[in-house]
Amino acid sequence: MTGFAAIVRRDLRLALRQGSDSTMVVMFFVLTCVLFPFGVGPEPNILARIAPGVIWVAALLASMLALERLFLADYEDGSLELLATAPPPLEFVVAAKILAHWLTTGLPLLIATPLLAILLNLPSEGFQVLIATLLLGTPTLSLIGAIGAALILGARRGGVLLSLLVLPLYIPVLIFGVGAVDAVIGGFPARTHVLVLSGILAVALPLAPFAAAAALRQALE
């Protein structure tokens, strides 16, 4: 357990000192959402209709931004070899890195969301469920993304490849995330959507670290 905490602390410290990744992710998220009123026009009803989808898609793209660096920095400076030969199992190491990644990129998105929801005129009934689905969905994005980030190590043009690998896998999370918000705004319960999102998270949580660790071992050979 000390190893787990040590990795989370190190990655948080690295992210906070560099600062760039978290700030970049949030700025991208905010700017993308802000572009929509310019693109589709400031008609409040149209904005209210598309708000959940816009926020979810922007959050999804933003969380991809910092994904490429998840293992790349450690791979390039040799730390990954040492992490792989350290006493904690590599799956454990990967889980710790994913947690740190979510804390530095997923959590800031969540904090910026209420502001963007107001900006896009999201009906007030949808606020709580939007936050709740993002809270369930963004860790899943980090978990699935980590598999992609591990697979692209050593590949040229890894960033582009990463989007191609990971974006299709994000679609279920997107559908049920937006579906939940739309349901509540339309006056229906969002229970089913939220349960499906929780289910996806519950499956990704134990599986993704194993898949990512296997990909990392392959990359290190």
Partner: protein
């Protein structure tokens, strides 16, 4: 005392055979020095011993037990120094070192143990300097201090003397000697004479690949 040995080790990189049927044994307090021309597989062998690279054939045993049975146990007893120095540019030397020490399970590793490790390689004065300001030799010394800081019975050092000045090579030697005196094992690849006491030399050139066994063309 622990014994680390390999038998019939064969290394395959892509479709190229690097070496085959390699045997070695190191006992506690022993030093195995890997020599051989570039590309003869010194680094590959060390990566194999560290568990980063699976042998195409052959087995590695620690006290008679195959290391592949318990990879985590094997990881707990080894320190590996590869080509990179893995010093994070934004973290200070002390932070870099403390992280690796904690990862090796010694939360209890007292500050002065780390301090002593830094001093044994003469990087104590750099403890609060961020990694990005270090020279190549200083980074290497920090990396070696990481190895010294937490005791582990097996040291795997790949060209540890790269970028080191003569005084530092001497300090590295002292560290290895102390490690061996405590019953530790060291496997080191090198092109220069490190001046270790009573090393066992393993020349990788003695295990030429030849034609791949059982590969149908």
């Amino acid at each position: 005392m622990a014994t680390f040995s390999g038998s019939g080790l064969t290394c395959l990189r892509g479709e190229n055979l690097v070496f085959r049927d390699l045997d070695f044994t190191v006992a506690g307090g022993g030093a195995l020095v890997l020599v051989g021309p570039n590309g003869s597989g010194k680094s590959s062998l060390l990566r194999m011993l560290a568990g980063l690279l699976g042998p195409a054939a052959g087995t590695l045993t620690w006290d008679g037990e195959a290391v592949t049975d318990e990879p985590d146990e094997h990881h707990a007893r080894l320190h590996y120094v590869g080509h990179h120095d893995c010093v994070k540019p934004i973290l200070t030397v002390a932070e870099n070192l403390a992280f690796w020490a904690r990862l090796h399970g010694s939360a209890a590793t007292s500050e002065d143990r780390l301090e002593r490790a830094l001093h044994s390689l003469d990087v104590g004065h750099l403890r609060d300097v961020p990694g990005r300001f270090l020279s190549a030799g200083q980074k290497r010394r920090v990396n070696l201090a990481r190895v010294v800081a937490v005791p582990a019975p097996l040291w795997l050092l790949d060209e540890p003397a790269t970028a080191l000045d003569r005084a530092s090579v001497g300090r590295l030697n002292d560290a290895i000697a102390a490690h061996r005196a405590a019953g530790g094992l060291v496997v080191v690849s090198t092109h220069q004479d490190l001046g270790l006491d009573d090393p066992t030399i393993l020349d990788l050139a003695d295990f030429p690949p030849g034609p791949a066994p059982g590969v149908a063309i």
